[in-house]
């Protein structure tokens, strides 16, 4: 048979299933993880994690993603990070610390009425970019900010 046609049929079915669920108010976050994504959390680089969570291999830099974090982290074990994403249709925000042994920190799947804002505190092993990847309207966007982590003097 024509392979292309079979695939086309499959996606149509999937599409209508989602449409029905949304109409019935059954779906909350569009992206819900069935099980803890072990491979993504154990991946040694961002690209591998993204593949595991979103099956994506590319991100587009976006100025619509703001990462608030201190320029210098007082304490690498507790670094406050806030991601503010302004684009429409945000489904998920993933947070990474690029230079950590396993960069993936967390995945936040948001319901359609959730605002693209997430704050938490993360562990950083050393000076690194904090990277936020936002899935919105089917596109993967990315923003980054460098946070310096140093050894303290007397206070640390």
């Amino acid at each position: 048979m024509n392979t292309k046609r079979r695939i086309f049929l499959k996606s149509t079915l999937a599409g209508s299933a989602i449409a029905v669920a949304v109409g019935a108010g059954l779906l909350s976050p569009r992206q819900v993880l069935a099980a803890w994504p072990k491979d993504a959390f154990e991946a040694k680089n961002i690209a591998a994690s993204l593949k595991g969570i979103y099956n994506a291999d590319m991100t587009t830099p976006s100025s619509d993603i703001e990462i608030k974090a201190p320029d210098i982290a007082e304490n690498g074990a507790v670094v406050p990070v806030t991601v503010n994403a302004g684009m429409k249709g945000i489904e998920s925000i993933s947070l990474f610390v690029e230079q950590n042994g396993t960069p993936l920190i967390a995945v936040f799947n948001l319901a359609p009425n959730a605002i693209g804002t997430v704050s938490t505190r993360v562990k950083m092993g050393k000076t690194s970019n904090v990277v936020a990847v936002v899935k919105a309207g089917g596109t993967m966007y990315a923003g980054r900010k460098e946070v310096k982590v140093t050894i303290g003097g007397c206070g640390g």
Binding site: E74, V78, R121, I151, G153, C154, G155
Partner: protein, 279 residues
């Protein structure tokens, strides 16, 4: 070259110290305040109770984020309040040992006890209260003693520090002893409190900015991220002494009580701000 200059300045300070010892506490306070107000123009006197965060906007961001919604000392404060309000086995409470029931009085500590020729700190009197009422004294530095004094300090928040050095040569001797400790170099690193917290305040030691000594004592007891819990002023004195590789004195020893007397007097007029949270 820089290192030499620093040593020279420090030496000058040491030599200068005995002469300065003749000045009155009031004169010392005036000089102390003027030194920091001149060094950090635009910082109001009361802001110094926020320590390094009054002068370092970078670290202030993190501090505010951590303190903002759930202050790290919250649980200890609740525990301290419960302790303070729970009667001892004999039915009496902490309040019975203190003026005003122990509420809103921490700004008056430490004080010179003329009858016994000694300086009394709040923690000392908390434990004296316990012993007087048949209870065991609390261990120093952290845990319950930090919690209950945190509550007492919290009820004093907003009151201006008001340590008195009466016109009594014995009180003055305690004050001078504390002042000597503050300005005397010690330890393998050969540093005095003043070297870091006066001369070098606002400068960096590795990646940290040194806090000004003005306002230092106002936010104790303190939840330090480094400790992971709430601790007392003398705990920090011990830690600082160790960090310059000097042998620490025991908490609530004469030396630390004298230091606390001088150190707190230097923050007179600044509002009590404890308990606090720091890196």
């Amino acid at each position: 070259m820089k290192a030499l200059l620093t040593t020279a300045t420090a030496l000058a300070l040491l030599v200068g110290a005995p002469l300065a010892a003749q000045a009155s506490p009031q004169q010392d306070l005036k000089e102390f305040r003027e030194y920091y107000m001149k060094k950090f123009p635009g910082v109001p006197l009361n802001e110094f109770s926020n320590g390094v965060y009054a002068i370092d906007p970078v670290s202030r961001v993190t501090w505010e984020a951590i303190e903002e919604d759930f202050p790290p000392y919250e649980d200890d404060l609740k525990k301290g309040e419960k302790m303070f309000k729970t009667p001892f086995a004999n039915g009496k409470t902490y309040g019975s040992c203190f003026p005003n029931g122990g509420i809103g009085i921490s700004q008056n500590y430490p004080y010179f006890d003329a009858a016994n020729n000694t300086v009394k700190t709040l923690e000392q009197e908390v434990n004296e209260c316990r012993v007087k009422n048949g209870e065991k004294p609390l261990k120093a530095n952290k845990g319950d003693i930090a919690a209950v004094t945190a509550y007492m300090v919290y009820t004093s928040r907003g009151n201006k520090v008001n340590v008195k050095v009466p016109n009594d040569p014995r009180a003055l001797a305690w004050y001078e002893r504390g002042k000597r400790h503050f300005y005397m170099k010690r330890g393998q690193l050969n540093l005095s409190c003043a070297n870091c917290h006066k001369d070098s305040s606002g400068l960096y030691i590795r990646a940290e900015m040194l806090s000004p000594a003005l306002g230092h004592t106002t936010h104790f007891p303190v939840f330090r991220q480094a400790w992971g819990d709430l601790g007392t002023l003398h705990r920090r004195y011990g830690g600082c002494n160790k960090q310059v590789r000097a042998k620490p004195f025991p908490s609530q020893s004469d030396e630390y009580r004298a230091l606390e007397y001088f150190h707190t007097y230097m923050s007179n007029g600044i509002k009590v701000n404890g308990p606090g949270s720091r890196k």
